[in-house]
């Protein structure tokens, strides 16, 4: 059975939309829940200043 057989195009779009929103949430937590980027920018800034 292929996917379209049990999912209408509308349902498939709805599923993909929600999946992308959840992936966005996961990425948001990855990026913002720790000072990774600020530390990285600081490092790059320090190296640029040397």
């Amino acid at each position: 059975m292929t996917i379209p057989e049990h999912q209408t195009p509308e349902l498939r779009r709805k599923n993909l939309r929600l999946a992308l929103a959840l992936a966005g949430l996961a990425i948001f937590f990855l990026v913002t829940s720790f000072p990774f980027w600020s530390g990285l920018f600081k490092l790059v800034g320090n190296q640029a200043g040397q």
Binding site: F29, V31, P35
Partner: protein
């Protein structure tokens, strides 16, 4: 709860794919569920073997078999294999098998992503096992002696095996997040008409909450280990005090993931109990709505109390008080769940088949583990107990009954549905008793060892701890070997046995029991109507 106008599976009986392609390219939720469960069983034996080696070493004081670093490497690998390799994939296996059948959906919402979520796992497991093996080779560096918490600065100094481990954690995290997204989308978008959220089977609810927890906390672990990787190789100092970093930051990131992870492991098993106990009590689940509320409360509070794992790092009085009170508060919704299970059994027409035996054992032993958890939540007491064998006893009493026994209950409960055969009840009960007695002989004495001052994660111990360690090690051998019986029962059931009816258990309720046993390759291609 829910009823349906369909009385029989009216699925299209497409031809089942054959050979290795069936498994490698599968997008069928039942096949992927089987893959997850098989993978988890293999990892259970791998993690169990490392645990038995640890207990063999601790059979006597002094160093018998393992040097200290190898001992700690085994401790690290045992934890990671059991958590990420055995328990989480097993729960995902149950979810894959059961969720679509329970909600009247033909498959998971994103079947191809489902395939990817599983097939990342063997690659991750390979990296995980390599992290253990690499130090044995010339140039392989030092053993991972950090424990599963991977605290810096030690984890920055460990050899290249740590890089394998970090990569394995990344892969495992990706797999978990993809599977969680799939489960949430399936549960929110693919339910049969008429099945409102509050008519959804409790196992589905537990997985909905678990999947959200995974999406929220796994990326933080991924971030933490990525920063660790940068500290190791790219000259950053996130956790290196010499460069202005703070090793305690890693502890916060790790436990922001690590504490909710406990509930990630527990909740699917709570979901299994919510089906097993009503089925064998022949009564509906007591307090469905309050169970849902309690679960959401556990997940919410569980996300904001992580630092009770770090009482000894030197937090302010206000901070430790907050984390202590928050942690103790969790016992309220957990207590409510236990109350609901007991109230479900109350005046029920109970029978004690293997899944129900596990359910009753879980209520008793998980409550016991929860009580020692309240002891550990109290700051001044924890100052004494921390890093002792008491902690080891506590979390094994929480996780073995709370997570693993729940999964065993689920496997025994749904095995007739999956295979079409009833398992051998006598052997099932024999497995239960050997397993539970072995477990208690192993871990109960560890409370006394911890209270007497035996530290954990140390290969040697004072001779005064010998007797309880001997008892614990003998129990561990009984407990470990009992799983061979589980394997035998599963294989025997797959190969044959008494034919299972559609509703394999007299008191079982739900859409999944309206399908044939075993169900057709494709089920619910015509959605049932829920009244």
């Amino acid at each position: 709860m829910t009823t349906t106008t369909m009385t029989h599976d009216e699925a299209h009986h497409h031809e089942t794919p054959k050979g290795w392609r069936r498994w490698l390219f599968s997008t069928n939720h039942k096949d992927i569920g089987t893959l997850y469960l098989t993978f988890a069983l293999i990892m259970l034996f791998l993690g169990g073997a490392s645990a038995m080696l640890i207990r063999l070493e601790l059979f006597q004081p002094g160093i018998q078999l393992l040097d200290p670093d190898l001992y700690n490497n085994l401790v690290t690998n045992h934890a990671l294999i059991m958590i990420f390799g055995a328990v989480m994939p097993a729960a995902a296996g149950l979810a894959n098998w059961m969720i679509p059948m329970m909600i009247g959906a033909p498959d998971m919402a994103l079947p191809r992503m489902n395939n990817l979520s599983f097939w990342i796992l063997p690659a991750a497991a390979t990296m995980l096992v390599l992290s253990f093996i690499v130090p044995f080779f010339p140039g392989g560096g030092t053993q991972i002696n950090t424990g599963w918490t991977l605290y810096p600065p030690l984890s920055i100094q460990v050899g290249m095996s740590m890089d394998f481990l970090i990569f394995a954690i990344h892969l495992l995290g990706i797999s978990s997040v993809l599977a969680s997204i799939n489960i949430i989308v399936t549960l929110l978008n693919m339910r049969a008409p008429g099945m409102t959220l509050l008519k959804m089977p409790m196992f589905c609810w537990t997985w909905l909450v678990t999947a959200f927890l995974l999406i929220l906390v796994v990326p933080v672990l991924a971030g933490g280990v990525t920063m660790l990787l940068f500290d190791r190789h790219f000259g950053t100092s996130f956790f290196d005090a010499a460069g202005g970093g703070d090793p305690v930051l890693f502890q916060h990131l790790f436990w922001f993931f690590g504490h909710p992870e406990v509930y990630i492991l527990l909740l699917p098993s709570i979901g299994v109990l919510s089906h097993v106990i009503p089925a064998f009590s022949r009564k509906p689940l007591f307090g469905y709505n309050s169970m849902v509320g309690a679960m959401i409360a556990v997940a919410t509070i569980g996300m904001v109390v992580w630092a009770h794992h770090q009482y000894t790092i030197g937090m302010s009085l206000g901070a430790v008080t907050y984390f202590m009170i928050g942690t103790i508060l969790i016992s309220i919704p957990v207590g409510l769940m236990v109350f609901n299970f007991i109230a479900t059994m109350w005046r029920g027409s109970m029978t004690f088949e293997t899944p129900m035996l596990f359910a009753v054992a879980i209520i008793l032993m998980f409550t016991f583990g929860g009580l020692s958890g309240v002891m550990l939540a109290v700051v001044p007491a924890d100052m004494q107990y921390q890093d002792s064998m008491f902690v080891v006893a506590h979390f094994h009493y929480v996780l073995m009954p709370g997570a693993v026994f729940g999964l065993f209950a689920g496997v025994f409960y749904w095995l007739p549905k999956w295979t079409g055969h009833m398992y051998d009840e006598k052997l099932g009960k024999l497995f239960f008793w050997i397993n539970v007695i072995g477990f208690n002989i192993t871990f109960f004495p560890q409370h006394f060892l911890g209270l007497a001052g035996m530290p954990r994660r140390i290969v040697d111990y004072n001779v005064m701890f010998t007797e309880f360690n001997v008892i614990s090690s003998i129990g561990a051998m009984i407990f470990g070997l009992s799983h061979l019986l589980l394997l035998y029962i599963i294989i025997k059931t797959i190969r044959g046995g008494k034919k299972a009816e559609s509703r394999a258990w007299e008191g079982a309720k739900g859409l999944e029991w309206e399908l044939d046993s075993p169900p057709a390759f494709h089920t619910w291609t015509v959605a049932p109507q829920i009244k």
